[in-house]
Symmetry: C2
Subunit: 217 residues, 2 copies
């Protein structure tokens, strides 16, 4: 019988959590190709991660492989999707319906990964009452009331940099417990609030720099 | 006279490149608040990064602070924007005009950070001839010809996971030198091609996991 893990054991290292979706993507690809079993070595070789890392990462999820054949592909996919939270539907509010906020509201792909944006908020009165991709947009004043009605605790932050700290405080005050921060601003939050920074523009800077280096060689 | 740095010296650590946009964001915020000078300590305290790291990171860019007062805010902004490549306009092609690809084509914010998507490519014939946010969409067959005409060397990859490797090979064959990979698939590329992975869905997994931990406490 598998041991029940305690909350502390559930504290999986962030690098592991970021790699698990790679294994999931690869397993889905192999599933389509009709591969019923996958070994750690096969996964490792195909996505250029050390095999010991793959094995260690997979030890965090409740799956056991069979000697010589490896993991059953279908089971690996199921277990990873559940483990990563992609099979649940987590409701979220969008804060800031500008370029990036509006763009993310267009991305139905998020739903396949367990995130459903149910409303957007903005300071612009002219946006209130409109919608993007059938997701309603409200004035930010409406947020506390809608939060109480819906119990949504995930907020996506895409406001301008100079409003990032202020809006995140307002989000937390209104009941948000996890902030997906797309601004390049490093927001400060209390310890019991989760922040996930996704600075897509910072990634651009890395790409430009690396590209310059190879072009100038 | 400032020393001219060699290409090897230009190889800035990735963590530094990812932090520099935070300093830029903070400097812009302080500029709006009328602060004409910024010290490393002030930056460090406000974005929760160690002051020695801030100083080391800023040593990579060509700027010198003044004792006691620090960096001139306007100069810091200019130097960082230029250094990060945000003031240039880098043209890019979008590969895969699905949910995420289409969403990113809606994000005019990318242009402020130096990236201009000039065309999208997809395998779907019904998308060819249409446009998103005034960016034309072509059938993928047109890519090699358009690459020769335009010289675009940056490609954004947002195709389905099972097409990621195949399309990236086609991109490279057609002249792409830097791939901004938004798929959760770990593409393999030759050494002289830059890959920047931005797995926004992997960040979601981290957020869900951390949120569960605090909720179940």
């Amino acid at each position: 019988m598998p041991e029940i893990k305690s909350i502390d054991e559930l504290k999986i290292p962030e690098p592991t959590l970021r790699r698990l979706p790679w294994y999931l993507a690869y397993a889905k690809l192999m599933m389509e190709k009709g591969e019923t079993y996958l070994s750690s070595t096969q996964i490792a070789n195909n996505i250029a991660v050390d095999v010991s890392i793959v094995a260690k990462d997979l030890s965090y999820v409740q799956i056991s492989g069979r000697t010589r054949v490896g993991y059953a592909t279908a089971e690996l996919i199921n277990v990873l999707e559940r483990f990563l939270g992609f099979t649940e539907s987590h409701k979220a509010f969008m804060f800031g319906v500008g370029n990036l906020g509006g763009a993310l509201m267009h991305d139905n792909g998020l739903e396949q990964f367990g995130l459903k944006i149910v409303a957007g908020f903005d300071v612009k009165y002219e946006l209130a009452g409109t919608s993007i991709n059938r997701i309603p947009i409200h004035h930010i004043e409406k947020f506390p009331e809608l939060q109480r009605q819906t119990g949504v605790i995930i907020g996506i932050l895409t406001v301008p940099v100079d409003k990032a700290q202020e809006v995140s405080e307002l989000m937390i005050q209104g009941g948000i417990r996890a902030i997906w921060n797309f601004t390049p601003f490093r927001i400060r939050v209390p310890e019991n609030v989760v922040v996930q920074n996704t600075s897509i523009y910072a990634h651009l800077a890395v790409m430009f720099n690396r590209l310059n280096a190879i072009i100038n060689k």
